[in-house]
Subunit: 192 residues, 2 copies
């Protein structure tokens, strides 16, 4: 048993790093490590853009959030989730959130509240994504790079249990964003 | 605006698939797609093991869950999260969950309840992970392939707000598992 707080242990020593595979978009790096007990391991990890990403739970009105249904090549199926995307060079996370909403659902956003920064399989990726709630939407469309218009799916806050069991609502970051939004929303209601 | 339920659109047609990069552990596939509006795109996706994975929120006692702090090469830091791992060939998800607990925290598990199956960045991955709650733990250690013993971190259910803001508790699947466990736990309490 050990300590709750994140007193970081001494990190393993990186003995060498090498790009072992590379495609148009992705790079795989092999990393030779020596742990502090002397154990040697070679791990592989993905080199990302290092740019970070955003995801937004957008409120159309106080009772309704918006999702998108989009083709996901990894699963080769359409998946339901919240609007998201990479932060472009020079953008803040908030600016990226606003732009992605304009591209994906045709709304700008007046008010953004950060819920949490999350990672994805940190054994392999350095990707960080900030999860936001978006309020005060106003119609404004920007053209994104999507091959087809995304299906926009409104959902009532009173029906979140149903959303959680939708077979195409699986992405862990969307699930985390939904449940963190719900905690935030309950705290907002309690303040009133 | 569109339909809530997952009436799947016709999927894009896969024109060709090709492994474009390959390392010891990972394979990147390029996939040429024709969407139903005629748009052509090349996407890249990772080929995983196809074996699926599990994660468990283990209850040491009715008030206490257990986490592990483990080195994560992608972030090059120690990260706090729930015990997890791939399903080995021939194993059920439940057997994998029990084995991973024995390897990572030194407990077998008497009772497993599935919370949800989640995906991770389904645009790139096909990986599916089943999130469980584990109860009725009993001491039993199996040797895993970890380079060093994992730090085991008990956490009181009364202090989950504090866990959510720990700087090293970031993995989206652990966050989703925690919040789904909390919903499940509240439902259990309400039944009593």
């Amino acid at each position: 048993m050990s300590e709750k707080t994140s007193k970081q242990r001494d990190l393993p020593t990186v003995l060498s790093r090498q790009i072992v595979a590379k495609s148009r978009l992705l790079r795989i790096e092999a990393i030779d490590l020596k742990f502090n007990n002397g154990e040697l391991r070679q791990y592989e990890r993905m080199q990302g853009s290092g740019r970070g990403a955003v995801m937004v739970v957008p409120f159309l009105d106080p009772e309704t959030i918006l999702l998108v249904r989009e083709y996901a090549a990894g699963l080769h199926s359409y998946q339901l989730g919240f609007p998201k995307g990479l932060i472009d060079p020079g953008e803040t996370a908030e600016q990226a959130a606003d732009r992605e909403l304009k591209e994906e659902i045709g709304y700008g956003v007046g008010k953004l509240t950060a819920l949490k920064q999350v990672s994805m399989a940190p054994a392999f990726f350095s990707a960080a994504m900030t999860l936001f709630v978006g309020e005060e939407l106003y119609p404004e469309q920007l053209v994104g790079d999507e091959p087809e218009p995304l299906e926009i799916v409104p959902w009532k806050l009173s029906e979140l249990d149903e959303l959680l069991i939708q077979p195409d609502f699986t992405e862990a970051r969307s699930v985390a964003a939904l449940l963190l939004m719900q905690r935030w929303h309950q705290a907002q209601q309690n303040e009133k």
